[in-house]
Chain length 201, copies 2
């Protein structure tokens, strides 16, 4: 089978996915700043021009990687929010899960942290969409708790936004990195206790 | 009167204070990175070697400026904590005042923000002392509220630490800068409402 024949069987979606996969591996291993589009192209055995047919810039590749990671996180929290357990339990699990997810992904590897920092600087819109998704997931669970009488009569949207702000220290990549020497799980427990006290009827 | 005679009347404390004053003015106007110790010396009509008699490095001058700013903030919050008003009112005033103080000092001037970022990177110990002071001021007011029955029976130290964490988004220079386009006062009001709900008996 010739190379041309192999390529003919690769759909544009598959090529896009392969570019993202190889780029992410490079960003994680070599670093975002030190990876050139040419390096990614070389690894894939294609020309940089071909990569640019799919992504107009290195920043666009990074945005696609971030969108995938954020999409995974959003699916994860939607599953927690839909569990048939008390609202307080779901809210606590949402907070601790988001913290662990961000901590594992964003600080276990310094390179990943660099990627996210670039994404936060360059593609702020996609990060804001993600933050709004987290806030509305909190609001959904709080609304359930208010309707069932488990929580007091708070405004779900306003309270969801306040809970999001209160938990920034557990989610923000830079703050997680700064607090790497601290027991963030204990701090999360203290914050969750404070938030659940606030939601009492 | 000769220059020597003028100098003879300047005490070491006065010289130290003048160095800090001129350095702060330079850092604010030119920026921390672009200010050399020689520039500060030239403005003061003294040799760099003389400056190094008082401060071993530019970083040490910055540390002294930060210590002064933090000391002022600490005196300010101690005065609020001691007011003869309900604990809830004092706690709310502490949070909003600290937010306004940080916002005014740290973002009104981009240069000041740079200084603080350097201080946070280089002199983390003095920043930690300041954070501990803020936490213990919260704990003091919460203890008053618990003892008077205004607040529920929470642990004042643990709750003070949780309140501090919950309000990071209002105090952290980088987060204030990132949220410059947002209505942080409204966000502060939402957080204060959440915290005071948590402290209800």
């Amino acid at each position: 089978m010739t190379l041309a024949a192999t390529r003919a069987r690769t759909s544009p979606e598959e090529t896009r996915a392969r570019i993202i996969e190889v780029a992410e591996e490079h960003f994680r291993r070599v670093g975002y700043a030190k990876t050139a589009v040419a390096d990614i192209a070389a690894e894939l055995g294609m020309s940089p021009a071909n990569i640019y047919r799919f992504f107009p810039s290195k920043s666009a590749i990074n945005e696609a990687i971030c969108a995938r990671l954020l999409g995974e996180a959003q699916a994860h929290i939607a599953a927690i929010a839909g569990k048939p357990v008390p609202a307080a339990e779901r809210l606590a699990e949402l907070i601790i899960s988001l913290h662990r997810l961000n901590k594992a992904r964003l600080t276990a590897e310094r390179r990943m942290h660099e990627m996210v920092a670039v994404a936060m600087a360059e593609n702020w819109a996609s990060i804001e969409v993600h933050c709004d998704c987290v806030k509305s997931t909190y609001a959904r669970v709080i609304r359930d708790g208010v309707e069932s009488g488990e929580f007091g009569a708070v405004d779900p949207d306003e309270t969801g936004a306040a809970v999001f702000k209160a938990c920034i220290c557990l989610f923000h990549p830079m703050l997680i990195a700064q607090g790497a020497d601290k027991d963030l799980e204990a701090e999360a427990a203290g914050l969750i206790a404070l938030i659940l006290r606030a939601l009492r009827p």
